[in-house]
Amino acid sequence: MNMMIGYGAILAFTVLVVVVMNRSHRGDATMSEYATGGRSFSSWFGTMAFLNTWLAGTVFVAFAGLTASGGVIGMYSLSYSLLSVVLMFFLGTPVNKWGRTHDLRTQADLLGLRYNSRSVRVIAAIIGVLASVPWVVLGMQSLGLVFSTLSFGQVSPYLAVVIGVLFIAARQIWTVRLGTRGLIISDMVQGLFAYGIGFLVIVGMLVWLVNNGHGFGAMAPALLELPGPGSPAGPFYLFSLMFTGMMGAWCWPDLFVRMFSVRTPRTVKKSAVQAAPLLFIFSAALTTVSLLASSVPGVSEAPDTVWFIMAGIGGVGLVAVAGVCVVAATMGNVGANLQALGTQIANDIIGARGHARVESSKGAKIAVAAVTLVSAAVALFTAHQVSGLIAIAFVSYQAICQLAPTLLLGIFWRKGTAAAANAAMVSGILVAAVLELMYPSPLSIPWLGGLTSGVAGLIVNLAVYLAVSFLKPATAAEQHRVNALFDDLKSKTPVSQGAQS
């Protein structure tokens, strides 16, 4: 009976999401419509699309577990998330305006335009795809905990992972069919449940914790310490975690394309302003619960299950609601990732081989379906060896944040060149990957004061980008083209789309 309630809740919620998605269905035969949802969404849809892509189901599992076991340092994720929202505010104008003016569909598309370079576009697209797939696979596998918990002991952990992977893969039928428009509509439903209902559950947990003697006084003192000078992790470790998170945020292709989907640059900014308080209130409450729950029996033995241990206090119904929160958040992140990766493969890797722009959405739909099947297959075959995949995922995070100098300096600085971008991305990834293998996460690099491999790679990356840009500046014609791109941002009406020479 308990299992029927748990699995039934997930099924009922999924049916609701699919019905809402189908009601929003419109023709999306063109690649642009499929990839951007017609650039038609209002700021509230932009806000929820950002939140549902950014706050994956892992915030209830891995991140909550990190806070429950590692202590107050777990709040670093809130800090870098908010800094990412601040960056979103500044990125809104160039990304949205260039996107509309030049019919950009992906992050790699924007880089191809900015640097006037097919190689920059393809390298960025390949990095985005390769770095994202391990996270998609982990996202699929993370549902195993939900299906295991909601079976109330009836399903083995391995079978629960299989069920979770098959479930989320089947859900992508609608992602493939409906593209970005369907995703953003579903983000609203999923987000309202995951972070709205989820927040109410968190408030209930907080009240219970405080009333039952699980305040700060009950916590182990070590959980309230931050790494500083003389600590084993090193004085710059916390800085590195936050800096990598902030720089890496907009390097994720799925998050970046959300800025193409809303109406205007001002809509992106408004989405950011609305997202900030929601993100702050929800994440601060969840991390506080995770922190205080560290003294609850059973949490220290299995910190990743802290969300469900706390929900268990409220009985079967609350566990089912908690499970749906995780599923709703996972659906948004996995769907957005698969859609962005498929579109990027079709538009920027396969599509970049030809001289004409890809105009049909058919290739993107096939690519999204293919990435879904490959990810699901990898998730099933590696279900017994998740730790190896986590190591690859950590490496991929250090790799994807190496897009940041090329992306951010390309958007905010006129002098960066294609040669600088290519050299910077490749050198940054090589440095980060080698150091990551020598000092695997979450360990920091002792002789760099606790910096992580990602930050070390970013330092080399940035130095190479600046050096090449200054030593080998763009030609006069190319600089003129780039200046025109930036000048377009200041005008109400775009004045130029390229060099005339």
Binding site: L83, V85, K490
Partner: protein
């Protein structure tokens, strides 16, 4: 040949006004980075104060978004 009519002043802030807003936005961004990222700030806090540091610092950055919005009345202003 004719030039487009100039936008009203309230829609088109003058150069000094616009650059002042740009400077203010950059100052807010720099303050956000210092509050949340600067290692010496992290080293100041331990025990329960570390928790309150995160809470207050992130609340300030959240409020800074509203300040950024207030300085950005123009469509398309970076």
């Amino acid at each position: 040949m004719s030039l487009p009519a100039p936008a009203p002043d309230y829609l088109n802030p003058s150069g000094p006004q616009r650059s002042g807003r740009t400077r203010l936005r950059r100052a807010i961004f720099a303050a956000d980075l210092i509050i949340l990222l600067a290692p010496p700030v992290h080293w100041l806090f331990s025990g329960q104060s570390a928790f309150w540091y995160f809470l207050v610092a992130n609340a300030l950055v959240t409020l800074s978004l509203f300040a950024l919005w207030a300085t950005s009345s123009e469509e398309g202003a970076a």
